[in-house]
Amino acid sequence: EELRHCQERATEVVCQELVEELLREETVSLATAQAREVLLQLKKESVERCTVDISSAVQEEVVVECVRDVCQEVVRAAEDLRDQRLAELEQCVQLAQTARIWR
């Protein structure tokens, strides 16, 4: 009878130990998986934020370069037109002077 009681008590402890051992293994496994998932998620979010930033930076760079190109082009064209008109005007003045001399 005493042996039976002893075995029963020991069995209960062994059972409890087994549950605890599995519990420990499972909680570590769950926590590790969760931490990995969290890290991955954090990285994903960081990459997305950086992608948006970099995209804006590239866009800004191109816009600034293109705006400068367009401005230079427009100013150059306006200057060319002005120079052309000045040249024409000068020619007219010269023609007028020549005409006056001949007269």
Binding site: C6, A10, V14, T27, A31, Q34, A35
Partner: protein
């Protein structure tokens, strides 16, 4: 004195049972059964959800695996259904009953 003697005998018995369980591969089989039962009864999913809550609460950046384990273990313990524990105990008893030299 009798109490101490009983504790010694209990410890010896525990060691014998454990040895038998390990030797026969029953210990690993029992753990596997227990693992399956815990998945089936939703324990793992519940604990996973709790784990997510803890991470959300504490902030994604500021928790280590060890802290997380410490945080979720009490809940994990509490969530193990009594029926699963009872079944495990029953299986161990059954195993021991089949052993001639215990």
């Amino acid at each position: 004195m009798a109490d101490q003697e009983r504790r010694i005998k209990d410890a010896q018995m525990r060691a014998t049972i454990n040895q038998k369980l390990v030797e026969t591969g029953e210990r690993e089989r029992l753990k596997e059964v227990l693992r399956t039962k815990l998945i089936e009864c939703g324990w793992r999913d519940q604990l996973k959800a709790h784990c997510k809550d803890v991470v959300k609460q504490k902030g994604l950046e500021h928790i280590t695996v060890d802290e997380l384990v410490a945080e979720i273990t009490p809940k994990g313990r509490a969530l193990v259904p009594d029926s699963v524990k009872k079944e495990l105990l029953q299986r161990i008893r059954h195993f021991l009953a089949q052993q001639s030299n215990i």
